[in-house]
Symmetry: C2
Subunit: 446 residues, 2 copies
């Protein structure tokens, strides 16, 4: 009953809108999205750049018509919410096409303002040809520039940096990848990231580790990346150094932020202000390994948070428990997965953590296509609790990372993991799965 | 300290021998194996028949020399243990090559006598050309016969029947597959088995469901399979109607059997007789969904049971908790996995069980190679506890079946499963994984 206004039409916003409307069809649901797309898959942009996805529209799950006509959700794109009056329960919104501002009352409000790429304070950062990647429009702009370029500089060696490096190499361009840390994939331990670095080098990505970018040079358009160690000619730059939550509007209207700097919610996705919910990349959640707040902006959690918020907005009692930080990607042919903590992260969080590095078959050694997986398993010395896993290999990474995600969520120990009844058949897994082997071997360190 | 005698050199026996010797190098370890191979992968035999594995020796993990020279384990093949005197702690063993029988004292005994294919009481069952499949020698004999044959009859539509049907079709032979139940894969629900039947038919396996074999006809060698419905010319027959435990020797010496008919052990893998341990396909274990005895003879459990027994034989305190019955195979291009209970099994075990059938993408719809997975999720209406999953699809089945195995082992509910932090990336999984979708949809039935 009443009116729900959703600010932001990406994962969390559309999930909240859809769930609330399904639970309570009498509710009026309006979604304001500042860009031109809702319900899309930003994680698919690298594959659009690579050309595996021919048309960027393919990255849209459901079109506007679908929401309007089939779901009864009033989705308004190119609409920017500029202010909210929490006492009068009013939203101020500007139609970016016409410039007209209007105000609307709400009964319930969902803040799904998402996150945005971090733009570090580097000289020349606003030159043309320097991109960040978030919206589909960003993807279209980057692709246009990449196609005209010969040399692409990528700043940041995380998921997006690695994925775009692959995409751009497949288009035949030179790629310089700059990472200020001493290894690629900052959330990985250095040792676990080595196979990824090898795969990138094998595919002629020019890795510049331990190299902090200090300046971009160019008239109007960027022509050079300058690091502490050297200066490199580039035609286009992608900045991919992380995401920060869009919390400016929330902060202004008195929404409480958490210790991570993102919006603080309870397990029902409620903020500190009556009738205002939040979820997605603007919101912090609980890390299930520590029970403490964390900010890990990934799409599966954003979707779940949105769904939980939508259910509760419509009168439900759903809870979002938190995350273990599970993720997967690929770097060329190498699959790369992580869940829970790296050894470094576990130690930083105060665990008496140990790690073991295992190299073991993806399937039976005699079956065609056999290759080796690499697993770094992290566990607590005292309690034997499994704290994390970092996995790379040419096949079978999803199986191991998702199994470990369940193991970590269930707070299993390595004693339990080593007895886990995992599937075996020669085309899929060896009789001792790498997870079981690691759980056995790590004991020597307890 | 002292002497360990292991009866049987397959998975459980060799795992026990290796673990005991590693833990206590002063122990004398002797393994008697009645056949010519130890430490081999019977599950690889279908791929040897198909020709993917060129030489049957490739299915051997470690050669005899390795155990003798590197591990200090005295492995004697072609040695049959004929009797055991539990009072005097003596083993009677016959060297099958020389026919000589000798006796040896033991301090600890490990019974790893394995299982054997069920030979149903069907007229003509002993005709030449009718095979069962267990040892590598069986595999060699079957392959020789298959190569000379045009039409192969397979009796039994379980894992082995399906795997050999594929292998034999790939050699260009006609295959008639007889299953007395109304669907293939007897441990699956009928609905969940449909995609497997379609895949077999697409690949010209001639399925005869609801057809019980009543007679084999032939002089010396089988020429016809007779069922309740018809009579079929065949050149070779494979019987694959299940496995039963080799417990005759154990029974004779007073080892207690459990309600499943296999050897009863406690969680330390000890039998009722002092200093005698058992494990593998001759031994029952606990089903973790019910907490009750079960007999599911699969290699991963056999290996773990052997390892636990070996550790305890050497003075350790390891426990084997039980299984959830996780398995995987493939039928041509279709991957087939199961863990926990089917709906039928769950109902038979007294659960107020419900099931949901979901068809959902293996990865993002726009990513090349996208296909649909089929999942039947089974849960308890009252407690919402996840009881089982049956999964088929052209990729990604291992990930889902192993994740569910962990979920079931941890006694998670569908409420917990739907919030599980599973990995997402377009090349690997959609943002809502099929497990999460199923956990959400099944709620409607609670």
């Amino acid at each position: 009953m009443g009116r729900l206004i959703v600010v932001g039409g990406s994962a969390a916003g559309m999930a909240a809108a859809a769930k609330a409307k399904r639970m309570d069809p009498s509710m009026e649901v309006i979604v304001f999205e500042k860009n031109g797309f809702v319900s899309y898959a930003p994680c698919g942009i690298p594959y659009y750049i690579e050309g595996l996805v021919g048309n960027i529209d393919e990255l849209v799950y459901y079109r506007l018509d679908y929401f309007r006509e089939k779901r009864g959700i009033d989705v308004r794109i190119h609409h920017l919410v500029t202010d909210i009056d929490v006492d009068k329960k009013l939203v101020y919104v500007t139609d970016k096409k016409t410039g007209r501002t209007s105000k609307l009352e709400y009964d319930k409000l969902m803040l799904a303002t998402g996150g945005r790429p971090i733009k570090p304070d580097i000289k020349g950062i606003d030159l043309e040809g320097i991109h960040t990647l978030r919206s589909l429009e960003d993807g279209e702009r980057l692709k246009k520039d990449v196609i005209k370029s010969n040399v692409i500089g990528i700043v940041g060696g995380g998921y997006i940096g690695v994925e775009v490096a692959e995409a751009v190499r497949k288009l035949g361009k030179r790629v310089l990848l700059f990472e200020m840390l001493d290894h690629i994939m900052p959330t990985f331990d250095k040792e676990a990231a080595l196979p990824i670095e090898e795969e990138l080098k094998k595919n002629h990505v020019e890795l510049h580790l331990n190299e902090k970018v200090v300046e971009f040079i160019g008239n109007d358009r960027v022509t050079k990346v300058v690091t502490e160690k050297g200066s490199y000619k580039v035609d286009t730059v992608l900045l991919a150094v992380g995401v920060r939550p869009n919390i400016e509007l929330a902060k202004r209207i008195g929404i409480e932020l958490g210790e991570t700097g993102a919006i603080k919610v309870n397990e029902y996705m409620r903020t500190n202000i009556e009738d205002i919910y939040a979820g997605g990349d603007n919101t912090e959640t609980v890390h299930l390994v520590t029970g403490k707040p964390t900010y890990i902006p990934l799409a599966p959690a954003a979707n779940k948070m949105g769904r939980v918020a939508g259910e509760n907005i419509a009168g439900g009692k759903a809870k979002f428990p938190g995350v273990v930080g599970t993720s997967i990607t690929k770097a060329f042919n190498l699959e790369v997965g992580k869940t829970g903590f790296s050894l470094k992260e576990a130690l930083e969080h105060g665990f008496d953590a140990v790690a073991v590095d295992i190299r073991h078959g993806s399937k039976s050694h005699y079956y065609p296509g056999f290759s080796k997986l690499n697993l770094r398993l992290v566990a607590d010395r005292e309690t034997h609790r499994v704290l994390g896993g970092q996995i790379t290999g040419y096949e079978g990474v999803l199986a191991r990372v998702n199994t470990l995600a369940a193991v970590i969520t269930a707070r299993m120990t390595t004693d339990e993991l080593k007895m886990l009844d995992l599937a075996y058949a020669p085309p899929f897994a060896p009789v001792w799965d790498i997870l079981i082997v690691a759980a056995n071997v790590i004991e020597k360190q307890f």
